[in-house]
């Protein structure tokens, strides 16, 4: 089996008396793009700083290609990594000084610096920007320079701490696609922190879900995002409807769950009389005027309480005895002649409902 590129074991980290992280183990494999995902205050950025060897954990071990990190080797190994901060800070002066900062502190020979500069120049088309002062850059240019000054270092692992959070929507999209292209082209090992599940899906191969300083789930991104284990995480991965229910019947994998006098049929695990949370993503809900004959097991009649246009789709809030959110295209909305106060049927497949055990 291939040795992980970076591995952390039994990491415990305190700020004062407060325990921030308690992690048994996690690793980063060669060429993969790992996402550290979780709500605000989960300890994501702290974990990233620890993994990138900028912060020393209170307890625990870190291994790089099997070599244990200690005070002596930490600087040399850290120089194989680059961390991009949430909000980049630029050093006073010209763009070129910022781009060459990392190479200069590593004392890279001049000839090598020139070769790398030429390479990065062609990758990012920086020529016009190099002699500009950093305070003359636009937001998009700042991100470009920030990425360029990281990639010129040819890092073994690139760490990114919510790199898009300060960008406007269009610049963000542009930068994400640019980064995705570069990561794939260079087969760059990447670890990045985000609380935006769309970003995570676009850029990540594997995900670590962090909650209150602990890893509560990890695995391939689609698997983890479809089956979150905690209510807070479910909200972060696009679940808009979370309702509490009680398992009433169980036939093999099919559970019948009561929610405010409605019965849901769900494929999942649980015991009779157990209380659970049902998680439903709005894109998994079908809306019709008349209940059709279909294989969909769950149909609920509800009254439309709110209509919110959101980009290409319309978000509908339906009161079925519980509040259900659904997405519908503009065309379907008009075709079905929906409106506030009107009634509609909502259908949800038994396999599209995810169960979280109560107390999580």
């Amino acid at each position: 089996m291939d040795l992980p590129k970076l591995e952390i074991r039994n990491i415990i980290h305190y700020y004062g008396n407060k325990k921030i992280l308690d992690i048994n183990g996690a690793n980063v494999k060669e060429g993969e793009s790992l996402v550290i995902f979780g709500p605000n205050g989960a300890g994501k950025s702290t974990l990233l700083r620890i993994m990138s060897l900028i912060e020393r954990p209170s307890k625990g071990e870190i291994y790089y290609k099997g070599e244990k990190i200690n005070k002596k080797n930490s600087l040399n190994i850290r120089r194989n990594f680059v961390l991009l901060l949430q909000k980049p800070v630029f050093f006073r002066g010209k763009v070129i000084d910022n781009i060459l900062f990392g190479l200069r502190v590593r004392k890279i020979p001049r000839r090598e610096i020139q070769t790398r500069l030429n390479k990065i120049n062609s990758l990012f088309s920086l020529k016009k920007l190099l002699n500009r002062r950093v305070d003359e850059l636009s937001g998009g240019e700042e991100q470009k320079i920030n990425l360029a000054r990281a990639l010129i270092l040819q890092p073994e692992i690139l760490f990114l701490d919510e790199p898009f959070s300060f960008l406007d929507a269009s610049t963000k999209e542009e930068v994400i696609y640019e980064l995705r292209k570069i990561i794939k082209k260079l087969k760059q090992t990447t670890v990045f922190v985000t609380h935006d599940w769309e970003e995570a899906i676009l850029l990540g191969d594997r995900v670590i879900l962090l909650h209150e300083g602990k890893i509560c789930q990890q695995g391939p991104i689609e698997d983890v995002f479809n089956k979150p284990t905690h209510k807070e995480l479910a909200k972060l991965v696009g679940v808009e409807t979370i309702v509490k229910g009680k398992i009433k019947e169980k036939e093999r994998e099919l559970l019948k769950i009561s929610v405010n006098n409605n019965i849901f049929q769900v494929i999942g695990e649980g015991e009779v009389e157990e209380e659970v949370f049902l998680c439903i993503k709005p894109e998994e809900v079908f809306i019709t005027k008349i209940r059709p004959e279909s294989s969909i097991r769950n149909w609920f009649l509800g009254k439309i309480e709110e209509i919110i246009p959101s980009g290409r789709v319309i978000e509908i809030k339906l009161n079925c005895g519980f509040l259900l959110k659904a997405f519908i295209t503009k065309a379907s909305f008009e075709e079905l002649n929906l409106g506030i106060g009107k009634k509609a049927w909502a259908g949800i497949k038994a396999t599209s409902i995810h169960i979280i055990k109560k107390g999580r």
Partner: protein, 239 residues
């Protein structure tokens, strides 16, 4: 009015005459205040970095002490140094009283809090993420601190100017611990006091002009480094 005109004429004659005694006094002034500023800088910069970057119990008290020290009356410093170096004082055996060394020590004590206080706020003005950004790009701890010092060089040089300006123009402490002894501890400020007292306004004005020129020259030199490559951004506004 005559007293001014005569004084200035005499002053220019003295300066142009390159009086060796005045040269000696000027040189000692520059030496004492230069060394004191340099030592205060060597001690003050690490202290200011430590106070700016670290949070520890008792930090607020230390910062308050530094801030109080920035307004320390030189005569009080002079008094305590004199008590320490007096023949019967705890360091009397060192025989430092009425020597340039005692003057340097007094001036270090005056300049240290000024340089430390100003540089500390200079480092604090650099964004907290600056240090992290330098580390994130592969800088060692010391390289990151150096980058931070470079970033804060404008206000840090202002701190040096304030420190130097504070001690070169100070008279109380150097008079008390130096004694204004001719050819030994007489500096520009103490000489000005003496000459004015004796009614020799010409020499007093000459010494004042030299002191002003010296302060200006040193500050001009530091300003040159401070403002190198800096550009002002003033936006055109309506009013």
């Amino acid at each position: 009015m005559n007293i001014f005109v005569e004084g200035f004429i005499k002053a220019f004659k003295i300066i142009l005459g390159l009086n060796p005694e005045i040269f000696k006094i000027t040189w000692l002034t520059l030496k004492v205040s230069g060394i004191a500023t340099f030592v205060a800088l060597i001690l003050g910069i690490p202290c200011s970095l430590f106070l700016a970057l670290r949070h520890f119990p008792g930090r607020k008290i230390l910062v308050s002490m530094i801030n109080t020290g920035m307004g320390l009356p030189p005569v009080v410093v002079g008094l305590f140094i004199a008590l320490f170096f007096w023949r019967s004082g705890p360091f009397g055996s060192l025989n430092l009283m009425y020597t340039p060394m005692a003057m340097i020590i007094a001036q270090i004590i005056i300049a240290f809090p000024i340089i430390t206080g100003f540089s500390m706020s200079a480092f604090q003005q650099v964004t907290p993420n600056f240090y992290l950004q330098a580390l994130a790009l592969g800088a060692s701890k010391w390289q990151a601190i150096w980058a931070m010092m470079k970033e804060a060089r404008l206000p840090t040089l202002a701190a040096i100017m304030a420190g130097f300006g504070g001690i070169i123009s100070e008279v109380g402490a150097v008079l008390m611990v130096g004694g204004n002894i001719k050819d030994k501890t007489r500096v520009l400020t103490t000489a000005i006091v003496l000459e004015t007292r004796m009614g020799k306004f010409g020499i007093a004005i000459a010494l004042s002009l030299i002191l002003l020129a010296l302060t200006f020259a040193v500050n001009y030199f530091l300003t040159h480094f401070q403002q190198r490559g800096e550009r002002q951004w003033i936006y055109r506004s309506w009013r």
